[in-house]
Amino acid sequence: MMQTASIRSDDVLEPDGSIKLRKVVLSGRLDMLGMEDIALKLTSLTAIKPLPVILDLRDVSFLASIGIRSIISSARALDQKGGRMVILLGGNELVKATLESTGIDDVIPMVAEEDQAERDALA
């Protein structure tokens, strides 16, 4: 049985309780069925408030174009609100090659290490 898609988030807070940084972790298979499960939540977590967002794709096993479209739409909406998205890949070579093939690496920063992702998101 193929791994299904999932999404979860973790907010890093400022001392006053406001959100400093949002980490959104996707995992599993982001194909047509997988995106049906998570697309709305991805939008609500990444595209509503002007936040620095790390989109963690380290545990994504399969990224289809429907998943890339959703990421582009969220990143664009976030950008228009004044937020910023950074993609965290770790050593996920197939997903990295997929994003590079579509030129997304030129418009959304992609990094391998979590520390770098935090620095870039907060820059």
Partner: protein
């Protein structure tokens, strides 16, 4: 364009979102049996998913009444192998390889969400061919891989 070998593994499916994963399972299982490494298997799997998703999104009524036939063939090319997937459908004549796309985006505002699937097919597949055979579209996608472990 030669027809697939009769002994090559094949699968006949209805093009629907629910069948996409069955197609992927079939492909990855047969690639694994034939020692195709994970990276080219993943690329072939992604391109199969994109072609089928395109059929589901843009195909005519025939797409939903006629099955799509898949065949996987392996060829020995010296120090490399070639995994070729043949995808046959009964939809309106459409050559997905003829679709051109503009330059890659330079800014987020320029990034077009559409057309990415066929772009992936162009970028990931080493061999690509299309033929209209009677009332069917015949698309062949191939990826080379090293036979060294």
């Amino acid at each position: 364009m030669a027809p697939p070998h009769p002994d090559a593994p094949s699968l006949s499916v209805q093009p629907s979102p629910l069948e996409l994963r069955r197609c992927s399972e079939w492909l990855t299982q047969h690639c694994q049996i034939r020692a195709v490494p994970p990276e080219p298997t993943g690329k072939l799997d992604l391109c199969l998913n994109e072609v089928l998703a395109n059929l589901i999104d843009h195909g005519g009524a025939a797409e939903f009444t006629s099955p799509v036939d898949l065949t996987l063939e392996l060829a020995d090319c010296g120090d490399r192998g070639l995994a070729t997937l043949t995808i046959v459908d009964a939809g309106p004549a459409f050559d997905p390889l003829s679709v051109s796309r503009g330059p890659l985006p330079r800014t987020l505002a320029e990034a077009e969400p559409g057309g990415l699937g066929l772009l992936l097919v162009h970028r990931f597949m080493d061999e690509r061919s299309y033929q209209r055979a009677g009332d069917r579209n015949v698309l062949k996608l191939g990826v080379y891989f090293s036979k060294d472990p």
